[in-house]
């Protein structure tokens, strides 16, 4: 669909985009296919461009880290990659499932405690030769900081990935309702409200501009109950994990959104058609016990 739209652009517009792309040097960057046709054809480069900065925004911690990890695993095919983590809790057996077998062997993990160190380390790693990708987890990133990182990515060989995580307390507060129990002191409720506000600040409309080439937002989606034909999985059991993948910004391209699903058995990712989920009454009744 997207390709057809691209073809129907006015010729002048297409020429203009080509010139802009040349100015931004984006057309000369090597491109790494995402591996999912629906997303690759939507991106103007036919995949993720290397040697620039991409941004992944957190709506649910596991899911966004997983998506960023998938991108990093793709870049790891070009060389060693680096993950700058704010909390030292990455688990290789889980990471391994995000990419091709053995990709975590090309992964270096650096634990940075302060945000300033994270950005410094990211810039150093982007500028240094020999790396194919650098992923940094950070809560804040101003426009000038992102410009700096984008310039660093252009000079070096590595592709930068920014994983915007809300501060730890807000990571969980972003979703789920506060507990309305009389035991909760008012100060605690205030703290929760503050957390929620902080998390809201990370919503797309409140996000500051950044120099990143693409900006993604990832959220977890409830899994679809397994088909009745499946012998092992049934009602109330976990289906395959699903993410809602939103492309919020894309330089020279159009926003889009997809539903991605990972097959728990094979680890393969697919883009599934977006069908509105009907409430699962039987499930809800069982869980309300």
């Amino acid at each position: 669909m997207t390709q057809r739209q691209n073809r129907h652009y006015h010729p002048d517009l297409r020429a203009l985009r080509a010139r802009l792309g040349a100015l931004q040097r984006l057309d000369r960057l090597p491109v790494l296919a995402f591996g999912l046709d629906a997303i690759d054809t939507h991106l103007p480069w036919g995949g993720m461009p290397c040697g620039c900065l991409h941004e992944v925004i957190d709506r649910a911690d596991g899911a966004s880290a997983g998506f960023a990890g998938v991108l990093l695993a793709r870049f790891s095919e070009r060389g060693p990659v680096l993950w700058l983590t704010a909390r030292d809790d990455l688990y290789p057996a889980g990471l391994e499932r995000l990419g091709s077998a053995g990709w975590t062997r090309r992964l270096l993990v650096v634990h940075t405690r302060r945000a300033a160190d994270t950005l410094w380390a990211m810039e150093e790693s982007l500028r240094s030769p020999g790396l194919a990708g650098v992923l940094a987890e950070t809560a804040k990133l101003t426009l000038s900081q992102s410009r700096r990182l984008q310039l660093a990515a252009e000079t070096g060989s590595a592709t930068g990935l920014i994983l915007r995580r809300p501060p730890p307390s807000a990571a969980v507060a972003a979703k789920g309702e506060p507990i309305s129990s009389p035991l909760d002191s008012s100060s605690q409720a205030d703290a929760l409200r503050a957390d929620a506000l902080r998390a809201d600040a990370l919503r797309a409309d409140a996000l500051p501009a950044s120099a990143a080439v693409t900006r993604w937002r990832i959220a977890a989606l409830p899994s679809r109950p397994a088909q009745s034909g499946d012998g092992f999985r049934g009602d109330g059991f976990l289906g395959f994990s699903r993410w809602r993948v939103e492309l919020l910004r894309c330089r020279g391209g159009r926003p889009g959104h997809w539903t991605m699903e990972q097959n728990d058995e094979t680890g393969a990712f697919t883009v599934v058609a977006e069908i509105p989920d009907r409430p699962d009454r039987a499930d809800a009744a069982r869980m309300a016990v």
Partner: protein, 559 residues
């Protein structure tokens, strides 16, 4: 240094310099003088005198409680400072230092000049010091504490030197030591002619009291009771009789003093074989000058290491401030490095943080840790990552070094999966370029490089330790329907499990009664999904027991 504790106090508090004071310690309910400054000593107050008696002698006497820890710390700092003379410095007791100046003295213009320089600098720090040089630590100790300061000794030394045969010295030593005499140090120049030859040393030691042999107080008093007051008196006694009467110690100390028995000095810091130094003509404070000197030292050191076929793993840059304190920076590398430019970058930020104080008059650069350097490194990422070119490792090493030096050693690591059922044991963090070896033999040890099974789904993030949660779960074996994690309530929509993981029984022993709560227990793991689709890894610790409240933990987050 007889008055080290009081000198130390007077150094930081100028007001105390001009009045008599002592440090005191409590013994059997009395306050006893530990050390007295020179004003107090002039009035005849010395160590071991009760404070009450001392104040009777000198009513204006002030006192401070002794602080042996601070004294020891200051002595250690002074020992570090003495590394400007020799790499081999040992601490002796509470107030003395041994410097092994074998092969170092000529760098300072001979033993005389070295000793004079040392005493001059110590005096400028406000420290009263006695120093003596000898071929053995024992003799140096004896001369410093008992010999020097008396005219008789000096003349004896000169005459003995005159008559001595010039024997080659096996090792030369001098010790800077506490002396019990209260007089100010004599001009240093006359103190340092090195007595040579065993006969000379014996002759010099003979008139000293037996206490100069570093023997215990009990032995000292017993020897004196027997009329053996001088070391010379012991020469005539058969060794067997000495050993029979006093055990090994007296004979051993005598042998050590005259050089029959070698006595190693245990250095405070391991001697650094690769050390380069730069002495400034006058104290400098400028960052640029220090940086330029560092560059030059790095170039020299790298050349020297290159000739040996080694590369630096750790570098120690030390600045000697004029006030006798040290400052410095350490940089380490993940692989042996020989590129001065790269090493200079590791120091760049640290230099900004160095405080030169009133000025720096000496800079040294050492490589306490170096490794064989080959231009083609064979170990590294290569064994585990067949696809990674060797060139990539070479390109990565400088980056890893910079990260490690700013963020702390061992920051950059690789996650290595281990063969273990216990989730937190199934990962190890390893240095990025360490070769990953597969342990052979014992099967109980986890073997790296293999993931147990891809089909057992494991979380992306694993909390270690697991975070306790409040959970509501139907008994006996159901996953929670509700749980609270970090103050938030999550409703479980779907769940899968349990996956039962038992502790590794072959590891560890039966827990004692106290640690039974912490002992590993069987865990039942559940993968659960809340209403937003977020997935968690929960477990119940221990098997279900009727009546007992089960404890639940959140161990990880799924992608």
């Amino acid at each position: 240094m007889p008055r080290f504790p009081t000198d130390r106090i007077a150094r930081t508090r100028p007001a105390w310099r001009s009045k008599p004071f002592v440090t005191t310690f409590a013994e059997r309910g009395r306050l006893i003088v530990g050390a007295a400054n020179h004003l107090a000593e002039e009035s005849g107050i010395g160590p071991c005198l009760p404070l009450a008696d001392a104040q009777a002698i000198l009513p204006s006497l002030a006192s401070l409680p002794a602080n042996p820890e601070a004294d020891a710390e200051a002595l250690a700092a002074l020992a570090d400072w003495c590394h400007r003379y020799t790499p081999w410095v040992g601490i002796n007791g509470a107030d003395g230092l041994f410097l092994d100046i074998t092969g170092c003295a000529h760098l300072m213009g001979g033993e005389d000049a070295l000793g004079a320089d040392l005493l001059k600098r110590l005096e400028s720090f406000g420290l009263t010091a006695r120093a003596a040089a000898a071929h053995t630590p024992g003799a140096a100790w004896a001369f410093a504490r008992f010999g020097i300061g008396t005219e008789r000794f000096a003349s004896l030394l000169c005459s003995a030197q005159g008559s001595a045969a010039k024997n080659p010295a096996p090792d030369s030593l001098y010790a800077k030591e506490n002396s019990l005499c209260a007089a100010r140090p004599r001009p240093a120049a006359s103190l340092f002619p090195l007595p040579e030859g065993e006969d000379v040393v014996r002759g010099l030691l003979a008139p000293l009291p037996v206490a100069a042999l570093r023997i215990s107080a009990a032995h000292d008093s017993e020897l004196r009771r027997l009329g053996l007051k001088r070391i010379g008196d012991l020469y005539a006694i058969p060794r067997a009789a000495l050993v029979r009467r006093f055990g090994d110690s007296v004979a051993l100390r005598l042998d050590q003093a005259v050089g029959h028995m070698a006595e190693p000095i245990s250095p405070r810091r391991p001697a650094d074989p690769d050390l380069v130094r730069h002495a400034f003509a006058e104290p400098v404070r400028e960052r640029a000058v220090i940086g330029a000197v560092l560059d030059r030292l790095l170039a020299t050191l790298c050349q020297r290491l290159e000739r040996k076929g080694r590369g630096a793993r750790r570098l120690d840059f030390t600045l000697y401030r004029t006030d006798g304190t040290l400052t410095g920076a350490v940089a380490s590398t993940s692989r042996p490095a020989l590129d001065p430019k790269h090493l200079a970058r590791l120091f760049a930020e640290k230099l900004d943080r160095l405080d030169p104080g009133l000025g720096v008059d000496l800079a040294t650069l050492g490589a306490p840790l170096s490794e064989a350097f080959s231009l083609r490194q064979t170990s590294g990422l290569a064994p585990a990552t067949a696809r990674l070119a060797q060139g990539a490792v070479d390109e990565l090493a400088p980056l890893v070094d910079r990260l490690d030096n700013r963020l702390g050693a061992g920051t950059a690591r690789r996650l290595v999966p281990m063969d273990s059922h216990i989730p937190e044991r199934a990962v190890q963090r390893r240095p990025p370029f360490a070769p990953i070896s597969t342990p052979t033999g014992s099967s109980a040890r986890a073997t790296p490089g293999r993931i147990v099974a891809l089909r057992t789904v494991r979380p992306l993030r694993l909390f270690d330790p697991p975070e306790p949660i409040d959970a509501m779960a139907p008994v006996p074996d159901h996953p929670p329907v509700l749980f609270r994690w970090r103050t938030r309530l999550h409703r479980v929509k779907r769940a899968e499990g349990p996956e039962r993981i038992a502790p590794e029984w072959w590891r560890g022993s039966t827990p004692s009664h106290d640690e039974r709560d912490l002992a590993p227990r069987t865990r039942d793991y559940y993968r659960v999904e809340d209403e937003d689709g977020r997935r968690f890894w929960l477990f119940r610790r221990g098997l279900y027991q009727p009546g007992a409240r089960p404890s639940w933990f959140l161990h990880g987050l799924f992608s």
